[in-house]
Amino acid sequence: MCWFLTAILVAPIESFYCGIAHSQEDWSKEFDEICSKTEDAMTFSVEELKSRVDRCDALKPRIEKLDEPQRKVTLKRLQMCRDLYAYVLEMKEKK
């Protein structure tokens, strides 16, 4: 009975913390996925570049919630990555 009550009480707390850890991992994973290909930017199609710029924009609000200085550093990295994709996109669209 005691074990059962403990399990009921602990489970929501555990899932809450796991949720936080999970969402942190999510932004990091997404960031890595988007920005690991900056050196291949020239080979991407216009659609692919647009998609990466959009993904950067979608990720920004999540990074803005991080604590300083992680927020400042990661936002700067995301901005550089986004700006490069946007730059190559503009170049390809002007061709």
Partner: protein
């Protein structure tokens, strides 16, 4: 008599004026070990510490530009990052590596900043906060670079050749910080840029040479915004003012005095 006195007076003023004007614009050329030196004083003096003296030569011999300026996000303009001691303590900026834990080439890297200080720690603070102090450096420039291939200006070192000949192997990846990148695709080919001045050799720009240490996002679009080749006209005046190529090639990379390293292609007759 009055006329003569006035004339002498004007002549003296003119000579003094010209002398002052000349000394006023003269800039001291840094010595090889000083070239690329950055003084950081965002918060140091406020905290009763000497400003930080950062020597690029040591760090560039061990790490790529990209690692520090993209992954760790040090800005390209002196002081604009606004590094705080608390940032370093939390493991960002200098504290990314200078955390007292990281081992690099068999040596533990000293901790940059810490809250609790003991008497011995002052020497550690002085390793960076050293402006105006006579601090003995762990690495001596002349000894460290004695076997490196030489060049005429800047640090007096041909860094590119130093890497090609195996004297340096700049690290481009930091576990837990950098993103693992698969370098599978060839970079753009070298291209020529025609100078504005007639008779001046053409500039051969190598993307390969630049991306190997910088990646792409360090230069584009922050430094080079033009999307169409040849559309943006870069002038030497702007470059000398620290724009475009001058962001690096007047501060850390070989200086603008070394004309032939960019203006390499002879004029076609």
């Amino acid at each position: 008599m009055v006329k003569e006195t006035c004339l002498v007076g004007v002549l003296v003023l003119a000579i003094v004026g010209m002398t002052l004007a000349e000394t006023g614009v003269k800039k001291k050329r840094p010595l090889p070990f000083e070239y690329g030196r950055v003084i950081l004083n965002n918060y140091s003096e406020e905290a009763h510490l000497s400003p930080v003296v950062f020597d690029h030569w040591l760090h560039r011999s061990k790490f790529t530009c990209r690692l520090c300026h993209v992954d760790i996000t040090f800005a390209m303009k002196t002081g604009s990052t606004g590094v705080k001691a608390s940032d370093n303590m939390k493991g960002y900026y200098c504290g990314t590596c200078h955390n007292g834990k990281m081992v690099f080439q068999g040596t533990k890297i000293f901790e940059s900043c810490s809250k609790k200080l003991q008497a011995d720690d002052i020497k550690r603070c002085d390793r960076c906060h050293s402006l105006g102090k006579n601090v003995k450096r762990e690495y001596d420039f002349a000894k460290f670079t004695e076997r490196f291939p030489k060049e005429r200006f800047g640090n007096g070192i041909d860094w590119e050749k130093s890497e090609a000949e195996g004297y340096i192997k700049p690290v481009d990846f930091l576990e837990g910080v950098s993103i693992l990148r698969k370098k599978s695709l060839p970079v753009q080919k070298d291209f020529a840029l025609t100078p504005k001045v007639e008779g001046m050799p053409e500039i051969i720009f190598s993307h390969k040479k630049h991306t190997v240490w910088n990646g792409c996002e360090l230069c584009h679009p922050e430094i080079f915004r033009g999307v169409k080749k040849g559309a943006t006209k870069y002038s030497m005046v702007e470059i000398m003012e620290g724009k475009y190529c001058g962001v690096c090639h007047s501060t850390v990379a070989f200086p603008l005095l070394d004309c032939q390293r960019c203006h390499t292609k002879p004029v076609q007759q």
